[in-house]
C-alpha cells in the first residue's frame, strides 16, 4: 500500500511543467511582418524621437550651459569612447537594421495587404533609412553601408564605404520615396512621411555635402509642391499653436499625456529664476550680436545700434528668441541689471526680489540673456516641456534653395525672393512690402553669401542647425575657439557701460570679437574646438575592436 503510494507520488512529481516556455509579454520574430498591421507596427516604431533630430545646440556658438560648462565638441575632448557619439551611431544603425529587416521580409504580408499600402510603407521605410545614412555621412564621413539584413558572421568582414557611394545610395533611395509617397494625408489619416519630407531630406543632405544642383532642385521641388508656407508668426511657430503649421515638413510629436516630454530639469535650466528656473542654459552674447538692426545692417555697421539699448531697432527675431530686458517674462519683469534688486511681477501683482540679477542670485544668467523662442507660460506652470521636435521646416528649404543657387553662381530674382520671404515673415509682413522690412537686393555673390549665412543663424537658433553650418562652412575652428563671454560680476559692472560696453566688432564670417573689451566683459569659459580632427566625429571604438577592417578618422 505505502509503496504504491510512493510510486504515485513519484509519478506525480515527474509529470511536470513543460520546458518549452515562450515569452509571456512580448511577441516572437519568427512570424512577424505577416500582415498589414505588423508591417505598420514595424514602420511606426521608427517614427519615434530616438531616430530623428538635429544636432545639440550646445555644440555651437549659439548656446552655453552654465552647469555643464563644456562638452566634447566645444571643449575639444571628443574621443572614440564618447558615449554620445556611440548612441548617435547605434541609433542610426538600429533604424537601418529595422528597415533592412522589413524590406527583406515584407513579402510575408503580400497576400493580405493592398499593394498600394505595401508600396507606401516601403517608401516610408526607405526614406527613414536614407535619412539615417544622411546623418551618418555628414558626421562620420565614410561609413559601413548595409542595405539588407546581414548575418552576424558576415558582419565582421564589413568595411567603411566611401562617402560618395553612400551618398549616391541616399539620393537613389530618396528618389524612390519621392516617387512613391503621397504629397499629403487627409485629416482623418495619421500624418506620416510625405513626398515633401523626402525632398526636404534630399535638399538638406545635398546642401550639407555641397551637391548644389541636387540641393537646388530638391528644395525647388518642395517649393513647387505648393502645400508648404511660412507660418505667419515667427514666435508662434515654436509654441503649441504652431505644431500643425503648414511650415512644418517633418516634426515629431511630443506630448506629456503620452509620456513623451522633458521634465523639470530641462525646463528649469531654460527659464528665468524669478519664474522658478535656474537660467542655466543660455543664449551666448555671440548669438545676440548676430542679429541685424532694422536697417538690415549688422550691429557694427548700423547707426541704429546702441549697446546701451541693444534690443532696440533690431531684427524682430531677436526679441522673439531672446528675452528683452525690462519686459514681462513668465510673469516677472526681466531685468538682470545689478541694481535692480526688486522687480514687478505681473503674476503676483507686486514687487518681488529680483532673482534674475546676479546681485541677488549669484547664479542668475551669466550672460544676462535667456531664451524666449519656443518657451511660454506653460513651462513654469507645468514644469514640463512637450513641444514637438521640429526636424525640417519650410524656411530651411527657402534658404537652402538660395544658398545652393548662390554657390552655383545662379543669382537671380528667385534667390532674393527666397531670402526675402523668410525676412519678411520675421517682420510679420508680406514679401512685397519691402518698405516694412530690410529686403535684400544685393546680387554680389560674396555679399549674398554673408547675408545668407547670417540669415540661417538668426532664423534657426535652438533648432540644432548651427553645428552642421559651422562644420560645413569650416567656421567651427574659429567660432568654437574663443571664450564664452558674459556680463561682469555685479561689483565689477561699470554701470555706465550697462549692459554692453560698446559695439562688438564682427568679422567677415559674422563672428564676434570680444577681446577688446577687457574687464567690461567676463570670460566664462574657454572653447577649444580641435580643428585637426573634429570636422569628423570618431568611429566608436567598439567597432574597431570587433572588426579591424573598420578604419578610424584622422586624429582619434
Amino acid at each position: 500500500m505505502k509503496k504504491t503510494l510512493f510510486l504515485m507520488l513519484l509519478a506525480g512529481a515527474t509529470s511536470c511543467h513543460t520546458l518549452d516556455l515562450n515569452p509571456l509579454s512580448e511577441a516572437s520574430t519568427g512570424t512577424f511582418y505577416s500582415n498589414q498591421t505588423e508591417l505598420e507596427l514595424a514602420v511606426n516604431d521608427l517614427y519615434r524621437l530616438a531616430f530623428w533630430g538635429n544636432d545639440n545646440e550646445l555644440f555651437s556658438d549659439n548656446e552655453w550651459h552654465r552647469g555643464q560648462l563644456t562638452n566634447a565638441v566645444i571643449g575639444g575632448t571628443m574621443n572614440a569612447d564618447d558615449a554620445g557619439v556611440q548612441t548617435f551611431w547605434l541609433n542610426s544603425y538600429k533604424a537601418i537594421a529595422r528597415v533592412n529587416s522589413f524590406i527583406a521580409n515584407k513579402e510575408r504580408a503580400a497576400a493580405n495587404t493592398p499593394a498600394a499600402v505595401m508600396l507606401r510603407l516601403e517608401a516610408e521605410m526607405r526614406l527613414i533609412r536614407a535619412y539615417q545614412y544622411s546623418r551618418l555621412v555628414t558626421h562620420f564621413g565614410d561609413v559601413p553601408l548595409l542595405t539588407a539584413p546581414v548575418a552576424l558572421a558576415e558582419s565582421y568582414g564589413i568595411a567603411r564605404r566611401n562617402q560618395a557611394e553612400v551618398l549616391q545610395f541616399v539620393f537613389d533611395e530618396l528618389d524612390f520615396a519621392i516617387a512613391n509617397l503621397p504629397v499629403s494625408y487627409g485629416a482623418s489619416e495619421t500624418k506620416r512621411l510625405t513626398k515633401g519630407a523626402a525632398l526636404a531630406i534630399k535638399a538638406r543632405t545635398a546642401l550639407y555635402t555641397g551637391k548644389w544642383q541636387l540641393a537646388r532642385d530638391a528644395s525647388k521641388a518642395v517649393m513647387d509642391l505648393g502645400i508648404y508656407a511660412l507660418h505667419s508668426s515667427y514666435s508662434q511657430l515654436f509654441l503649441k499653436a504652431g505644431e500643425t503649421s503648414k511650415e512644418l515638413i517633418i516634426s515629431v510629436p511630443r506630448d506629456e499625456k503620452q509620456q513623451v516630454f522633458n521634465g523639470a530639469g530641462y525646463v528649469q535650466d531654460n527659464i528665468s529664476r524669478n519664474a522658478g528656473g535656474y537660467g542655466a542654459q543660455l543664449p551666448t552674447r555671440d548669438m545676440m550680436d548676430a542679429y541685424e538692426c532694422t536697417d538690415g545692417k549688422p550691429i557694427d555697421e548700423s547707426a541704429l545700434y546702441d549697446p546701451k539699448a541693444p534690443f532696440k531697432n533690431r531684427d524682430p527675431r531677436l526679441t522673439a528668441t531672446i528675452v528683452e530686458f525690462n519686459t514681462q517674462w513668465l510673469g516677472y519683469n526681466y531685468m538682470p541689471h545689478p541694481d535692480s534688486l526688486t522687480v514687478f511681477s505681473s503674476k503676483e501683482n507686486r514687487r518681488v526680489p529680483n532673482k534674475d540679477t546676479r546681485a541677488v542670485a549669484a547664479f542668475a544668467s551669466f550672460t544676462g540673456l535667456l531664451w524666449k523662442k519656443g518657451i511660454d507660460q506653460t513651462w513654469p506652470d507645468r514644469l514640463v516641456e512637450d513641444n514637438d521636435a521640429i526636424v525640417i521646416r519650410y524656411a530651411e528649404m527657402l534658404l537652402t534653395y538660395a544658398e545652393a543657387k548662390i554657390e552655383l553662381g545662379e543669382i537671380d530674382e528667385s534667390v532674393l525672393n527666397a531670402v526675402n520671404l523668410v525676412r519678411a515673415r520675421a517682420y510679420g509682413v508680406s514679401v512685397d512690402q519691402t518698405a516694412a522690412y530690410p529686403a535684400i537686393a544685393v546680387t554680389n555673390a560674396a555679399a549674398l553669401r554673408k547675408v545668407l549665412r547670417r540669415e540661417r543663424r538668426v532664423e534657426f537658433p535652438r533648432e540644432g542647425l548651427r553645428y552642421m553650418d559651422l562644420i560645413r562652412w569650416k567656421l567651427a575652428e574659429k567660432a568654437l575657439s574663443t571664450p564664452v563671454v558674459g556680463l561682469p560680476d555685479p561689483a565689477a559692472q561699470n554701470r555706465a557701460k550697462w549692459p554692453f560696453p560698446g559695439v562688438t566688432p564682427l568679422d567677415d564670417d559674422g563672428l564676434a570679437d570680444y577681446s577688446g573689451f577687457g574687464t567690461d566683459v567676463k570670460a566664462l569659459s574657454q572653447r577649444s574646438f580641435d580643428k585637426s580632427r573634429q570636422y569628423l566625429w570618431p568611429i566608436p571604438a567598439v567597432e574597431r575592436r570587433v572588426n579591424p577592417n573598420i578604419t578610424q578618422n584622422a586624429g582619434y
Binding site: 512529481a13 552647469g67 537594421a97 552576424l152 485629416a187 495619421t190 513623451v260 522658478g276 575592436r545
Partner: protein, 1019 residues
C-alpha cells in the same frame, strides 16, 4: 503536479498507524562526566525508530522487547554517542562524554549528509554560534570572514542592507552569487532566514561537491539548515536586543567663507575673469549672517539632514521548542527593525518559521515546515528603490551657502528649490512591502534497512507591493508669499504589485549499506523539478490637485500610466551519487547530474555534469595509527564540472528567453484629426543567437584535513584551479548590426586559489576556549572573450583580472607652463596643476589608447577568525576579518570639489591641492590637482593617481555574556537567563583617509558600528 503531491502527503498524514506493544521495562539515569543530570538525551533501540528521552532529572524509562538482545544508542547534542547492549538488568545508568572531535560531526551536503571525516570534496561548515552569535540582522553579514574561500562584501550600512557573497572568487562574467539552499530547497536570498534559526551553514566550494547541483552550482552552493526540535527538548525562549548604530567615518567639508574662496579660485582657473563671490562679500559674510541669516545662510547640511548621531536597531525573537518521541516542533517568530540617521528611513522584518517532524511509524516519517517572511523597506520619496534621492549624498554635497530653514521656520528654497531637508519632511515617501510564504513537505519512507525513499514538495509564493509617492513642494518666501520655486516638479504616485511562484519538487532514493564491516556504499538517485513564474503590474498617476491622498484615484485621469509584464522558467534535473569507502580508509565518490533548462532552445537544452573525488585517510593506516600527536590525516582530491544557467539581459536583469528573438513593443506619436494619437510600434531589439547553451566551470581541487594533539588542533587546506568556459556573454557585435548585444557562448575565465583553516580547541578546568582562523586567496584571470571588452574604469578583457582597474598611468602634477609645452596631454585645456599622464604608446598625445591595466579591484588574501571562551556562566567571543590586498579608488566625496558644479569642498583637500596661490615648493608637495571644473574629467579620470591599497583589518564582533545559574531561577520556572553585551565593526585599520571607511561605497549610507545589549530568557 503540486496538487498530486499535496494530496499524496495529506493522505499519508491521515494514515499514521499505531505501533506494537512491548514487554520489559528498563529505567536509569543519564549524567555527564561531572555527574550533572542530562535531560533530553535520546535513547533509541538501534535499527528501529523506537525510543525515549530523559526527563528534566535525566531519568528515563524504556520498554524493551522481551527475550531479544537489543542495542541502545544514547545520544545528545555536544556529547559522544554511546551504544550499550543491556543484559537482563532493569536499571542502567549511563555517563556521556562531551564530544570534542569536530571530525565526528555530521555535515549537510547536497541532497544528504555525510560525516565530516568522510568528506572528499572541499566543504566548510559553520554552526549556530558563528551565525546567530555574530549579532547581525542579515545572515549574509555573519558570513563575513567566517569561511575560507568565501568573500563577503558590503558597501553600505543602510537599514536592511545585506552583503554580496562570492565563493572562490569570480566564476563568470554575469551572475556570480552562489546558489542558496535552505533545508534542501533553493531560495532567492540567504537573508530571508532569521540568523537565530540557523543550525548550521555548509559551503560547497569545489565542483565535486557542487556538481550535484549541476547547472546552478558553478558559483558554489551554500546550504543552510534551520534548527529543528530534538527529542526531549521543551522550552520557550525569548530574546530581546537593543542596539545603536554609529557611522564609522564621516566626510567633512570646508566652512562657508573658504567654500566661496575656493569656488572663486576654480572659476578663475577655468577661464573666468573673476569668481562669483566678491572679496568684500566673503570677508563680511559671517557678520552679514549674524544680521540676516536668511540672505546670508551658513548651513551645516550634514547636521541638518542627519538628525540622529546614532540610529536604533532592535530585535525580538520568540522560540518554542517541543520534542517528544513522535512529534517534534520548533517554532520561531522573529522581529527585527533598524532605523537610519535621518528621518523616514527604516527597515522592519518579521520572520516566522515552524519546523515539524513527525514519526508516523517505523518506516515512515514526515517533515512539515512552514515559513513566512515580511519585510518593509521605507524611505523618502525617490529614495527607494532607485536612490534617485539619496539623503547622504545631499547632506554631503550641499554647500553652506544655501539655506535650509528660514528664521520664520519655513523651509528655504535651498539651492534653486533643491532643499533636501524639505524633501525629507514634505516630499512624500517610498515603501516596499515584501511578503513571502512558503512551505516544505517531505515524506520519508524506509521500506527496508538502508533504503530511504524521499519525496519533497516546496512551494514558495511572493507577494510584493510597492508604493512610491513624490510630492511637489512649493516654498514660501521669507516675506510669507508663496514662491515660484518648487522642489520635485510633479506630484507622482506609482504603485506596483507582483506575484511570484516558485515550486520545487524532488524525489530521492538513497541506499546505504555496510558489507562485512569493510565496504560501505551509499547510492543516491533523484529527480528534481524547479519552476518559477512572475507577473507584475504597475500603475501611476500624476497631476494631483491635493497632495495629501496618496491613492491613484486622486490623481489626474489624463496623466496616468500603467504597465505589466510576466515571465516563467523551468528546470528539470536527474542526478545520482555513488559513494564507496573501504574501512573508512579509502574513499571514492562520483556524481552525475543532468539538467534541462527552459532558458535554452530545446535541442541545446540538456547538460550533463560529472564529478569524481577520492580520499585517503592516512591516519587509519597501520604505520600512523600509533602516532600520538597525529589524531587524523586525510588527503583528498577532486575534479568536477558545474554550470551556470542564470543569464542576464543587456540591462542586467535575468534573461529567461535569451535564445529567442522577440519583438518589443513601443509607442510612436502621430497627428490625426488635429490631435496627437499614440500608435504601437514593434521591433526586434536584441540580436538572438539560438544555439547558445550552458557555461561550464571545471574545478580541480586537492586538499587535506588533519587534526593533531588529540583533536585539539585542526587544519584544513585546499588548492584549486577553476576554469569556466563557454561563458555566456553579451558579446560585442558591431554596432552597425543595429541590434543590442546578444548572449553568446564565448568567454573563458580562470581562477586559481587556496584556502587554509586552522582551529584550536581545548579545556582548562572549567575554562573552555577555542581559536580559529582562516586565510584564502582567489585570483581570477580573464581568458579569451572573442575580442569583447567590458570597458570603463574597470575592465574585463583577455588577460586582465576580472574588473581590473583600467586607466592612465600618472606622473605627478604639471608644475609649470613650460612642462606642458610639447608634452603629451589629454586635451588642449591642460594647465599647470593638472595631472600629468604617461604617454604609454608614445604617439605624442594622451588618448584612450594609453590606458593600461592598473591592478585588481577584487579583494585578495581574505582572512578571518574568532576567539571564544567560556568559564562557568561567562562567555566571551571575538571575531575579526580583513583583506590583505586590494586596490581601491578614492571616493570622490573626499577628493573632488564642487560636485555638480556647486557642491561642497572636502576638508581633506585643504592645503593639499595645487594652486596658483601656493609657493612652488607647496605645489611640489600637492597631492590633489588644481581646482577646475573643465579639467575635472581629465584629472579625475581613472588613473593610478587615485588608487590606493584597500587592505584593511576589522574587528567584526565582540560579545560578552553571562548566563545565570539554573538553581537560582528554577523556582520561578525559568530554565536560564543570559545577559549579553555585543559590538560590531567597532575598530578597523586601513590606509584610507580618516573620513572614509575602507568598505564604504561612494556617497553611500555609512558603514555602521553597532553596540548592542540583549537578554535571553528561557522557560
Amino acid at each position: 503536479m503540486r496538487q498530486k503531491i499535496l494530496l499524496g502527503c495529506a493522505w499519508l498524514l491521515a494514515s499514521m498507524g499505531p505501533l506494537l506493544a512491548q514487554v520489559r521495562q528498563l529505567t536509569g539515569k543519564v549524567t555527564d562526566e561531572g555527574a550533572k543530570d542530562l535531560p533530553g538525551v535520546s535513547i533509541v533501540i538501534k535499527g528501529t525508530q523506537r525510543g525515549t528521552v530523559t526527563d528534566t532529572n535525566g531519568d528515563y524509562t524504556l520498554a524493551l522487547p522481551d527475550g531479544e538482545a537489543v542495542t541502545l544508542t544514547f545520544s545528545f547534542v555536544g556529547y559522544q554517542s554511546q551504544d550499550i547492549t543491556p543484559g537482563s538488568q532493569t536499571k542502567l545508568n549511563v555517563t556521556l562524554k562531551q564530544s570534542d572531535n569536530a571530525l565526528s560531526e555530521v555535515v549537510v551536503v547536497g541532497y544528504g549528509t555525510q560525516k565530516k571525516k568522510d568528506l572528499t570534496g572541499a566543504i566548510s561548515s559553520i554552526g549556530a554560534r558563528d551565525v546567530g552569535g555574530r549579532q547581525t540582522i542579515q545572515v549574509s553579514d555573519a558570513l563575513q570572514g567566517s569561511v575560507a574561500g568565501v568573500s563577503v562584501t558590503r558597501s553600505s550600512g543602510a537599514p536592511g542592507s545585506g552583503s554580496s557573497i562570492l565563493i572562490r572568487g569570480i566564476t563568470t562574467i554575469g551572475t556570480n552569487s552562489p546558489l542558496v539552499i535552505v533545508d534542501g530547497v533553493p531560495v532567492a536570498s540567504i537573508d530571508n532566514v532569521n540568523p537565530g534559526d540557523v543550525e548550521n551553514i555548509t559551503v560547497l566550494k569545489d565542483a565535486a561537491s557542487a556538481a550535484i547541483y549541476g547547472s546552478r552550482g558553478a558559483a558554489g552552493v551554500i546550504l543552510v539548515t534551520t534548527k529543528r526540535a530534538k527529542s526531549g527538548q521543551g522550552s520557550l525562549e525569548y530574546t530581546y536586543e537593543y542596539g545603536v548604530q554609529r557611522a564609522t567615518a564621516t566626510p567633512e567639508y570646508v566652512g562657508v567663507q573658504d567654500y566661496m574662496r575656493y569656488f572663486n579660485e576654480q572659476a578663475v582657473n577655468d577661464g573666468a575673469s573673476a569668481g562669483p563671490f566678491a572679496d568684500a562679500y566673503i570677508a563680511s559674510y559671517l557678520d552679514s549672517n549674524r544680521v540676516n541669516p536668511d540672505h546670508f545662510p551658513n548651513t551645516d547640511w550634514q547636521k541638518a539632514i542627519l538628525t540622529r548621531k546614532s540610529a536604533p536597531r532592535q530585535r525580538h525573537d520568540l522560540v518554542f521548542t517541543m520534542g517528544t518521541g513522535k512529534t517534534k516542533t520548533k517554532a520561531s517568530l522573529g522581529y527585527a527593525s533598524s532605523g537610519a540617521f535621518y528621518d523616514n528611513r527604516s527597515y522592519d522584518r518579521y520572520l516566522f518559521r515552524v519546523n515539524n517532524d513527525m514519526q508516523v511509524n517505523d518506516k515512515i516519517s514526515v517533515n512539515l515546515d512552514v515559513f513566512y517572511k515580511r519585510t518593509a523597506n521605507k524611505g523618502n520619496a525617490n529614495e527607494l528603490p532607485s536612490s534617485a534621492f539619496n539623503p547622504i549624498y545631499e547632506a554631503r554635497i550641499m554647500p553652506p551657502i544655501y539655506d535650509d530653514v528660514y528664521q520664520n521656520g519655513n523651509f528655504a528654497v535651498g539651492k534653486d528649490g533643491r532643499n533636501p531637508l524639505a524633501q525629507i519632511r514634505h516630499g512624500g515617501f517610498s515603501r516596499g512591502l515584501y511578503n513571502q510564504i512558503g512551505g516544505r513537505m517531505q515524506f520519508n519512507y524506509k521500506p527496508v534497512n538502508g533504503l530511504t525513499l524521499t519525496a519533497l514538495v516546496a512551494p514558495v509564493f511572493d507577494f510584493d507591493k510597492t508604493k512610491y509617492f513624490s510630492k511637489q513642494i512649493r516654498f514660501t518666501n521669507p516675506d510669507g508669499t508663496v514662491g515660484t520655486v518648487v522642489n520635485q516638479a510633479r506630484t507622482v504616485l506609482s504603485e506596483g504589485r507582483s506575484e511570484g511562484v516558485t515550486l520545487n519538487g524532488q524525489v530521492l532514493v538513497n541506499y546505504a549499506r555496510e558489507f562485512n564491516n569493510a565496504h560501505s556504499i551509499d547510492i543516491l538517485a533523484g529527480f528534481e523539478e524547479n519552476y518559477r513564474s512572475l507577473e507584475s503590474l504597475g500603475a501611476s498617476r500624476s497631476g494631483f490637485a491635493l497632495t495629501g491622498f496618496p491613492y491613484l484615484n486622486s490623481g489626474s485621469t489624463e496623466l496616468r500610466d500603467n504597465s505589466g509584464s510576466a515571465n516563467e522558467s523551468g528546470l528539470h534535473s536527474f542526478f545520482g551519487r555513488l559513494q564507496y569507502n573501504f574501512k573508512s580508509k579509502y574513499f571514492i565518490q562520483g556524481n552525475l547530474r543532468s539538467d534541462l533548462s527552459s532558458r535554452f532552445a530545446s535541442q541545446y537544452r540538456k547538460a550533463v555534469y560529472p564529478s569524481v573525488s577520492a580520499g585517503w585517510t592516512v591516519s587509519e593506516e597501520q604505520f600512523l595509527k600509533s602516532t600520538r600527536w597525529l589524531s587524523f590525516l586525510k588527503l583528498r582530491g577532486s575534479w568536477g564540472e558545474a554550470g551556470n544557467e542564470r543569464l542576464l539581459d543587456k540591462d542586467g536583469n535575468p534573461a529567461y528567453y535569451p535564445y529567442m528573438a522577440t519583438i518589443d513593443f513601443s509607442t510612436a506619436l502621430f497627428y490625426q484629426n488635429g490631435g496627437v494619437v499614440p500608435l504601437t510600434g514593434g521591433a526586434q531589439q536584441v540580436y538572438a543567437v539560438e544555439n547558445i547553451s550552458w557555461e561550464t566551470s571545471r574545478t580541480a581541487d586537492i586538499g587535506l584535513d588533519a587534526s593533531f594533539l588529540n583533536d585539539r588542533l585542526t587544519l584544513a587546506a585546499d588548492y584549486y584551479k577553476k576554469t569556466t568556459t563557454n561563458i555566456l556573454l553579451p558579446l560585442d557585435i558591431p554596432l552597425y548590426m543595429g541590434y543590442d548585444k546578444p548572449n553568446q557562448n564565448a568567454g573563458t575565465l580562470n581562477v586559481r586559489g587556496w584556502e587554509l583553516e586552522l582551529g584550536w580547541r581545548d579545556r582548562m578546568n572549567k575554562l573552555n576556549y577555542s581559536v580559529s582562523a582562516n586565510l584564502s586567496d582567489a585570483k581570477s584571470t580573464v581568458g579569451d572573450l572573442k575580442g569583447t571588452e567590458f570597458r570603463g574604469d574597470q575592465i574585463v578583457r583577455n588577460g586582465s583580472q576580472y574588473n581590473e582597474w583600467f586607466g592612465y598611468i600618472s606622473n605627478g602634477l604639471f608644475q609649470t607652463v613650460d612642462e606642458i609645452k610639447g608634452a603629451p596631454v589629454l586635451n588642449v585645456t591642460t594647465k599647470p596643476g593638472d595631472v600629468r599622464y604617461v604617454d604609454v604608446n608614445q604617439d605624442g598625445k594622451i588618448t584612450t589608447d594609453d590606458k593600461v591595466l592598473l591592478g585588481g579591484a577584487l579583494p585578495r588574501y581574505l582572512y578571518g577568525g574568532n576567539l571564544r571562551a567560556d568559564y562557568e556562566g561567562f562567555d566571551v567571543g571575538v571575531t575579526f576579518q580583513g583583506v590583505a590586498k586590494k586596490l581601491s579608488r578614492l571616493s570622490s566625496e573626499v577628493t573632488q570639489p564642487f560636485a555638480e558644479a556647486f557642491g561642497n569642498m572636502p576638508s581633506e583637500m585643504v592645503g593639499k591641492f595645487w594652486s596658483n596661490n601656493n609657493t612652488p615648493d607647496q605645489n611640489l608637495r600637492a597631492t590633489y590637482p588644481r581646482l577646475s571644473r573643465t579639467s575635472n574629467a581629465a584629472n579625475y579620470a581613472l588613473s593610478d593617481y587615485w588608487l590606493l591599497s584597500g587592505a584593511y583589518f576589522r574587528l567584526k564582533n565582540i560579545t560578552m555574556g553571562y548566563t545565570l545559574k539554573q538553581d537560582m531561577l528554577k523556582k520561578t520556572g525559568v530554565q536560564s537567563l543570559r545577559l549579553y553585551l555585543s559590538a560590531n565593526d567597532v575598530f578597523s585599520l586601513s590606509k584610507f583617509p580618516k573620513y572614509l571607511d575602507p568598505e564604504s561605497g561612494s556617497y553611500s549610507y555609512p558603514i555602521v558600528a553597532t553596540f548592542m545589549a540583549g537578554a535571553t530568557i528561557r522557560f
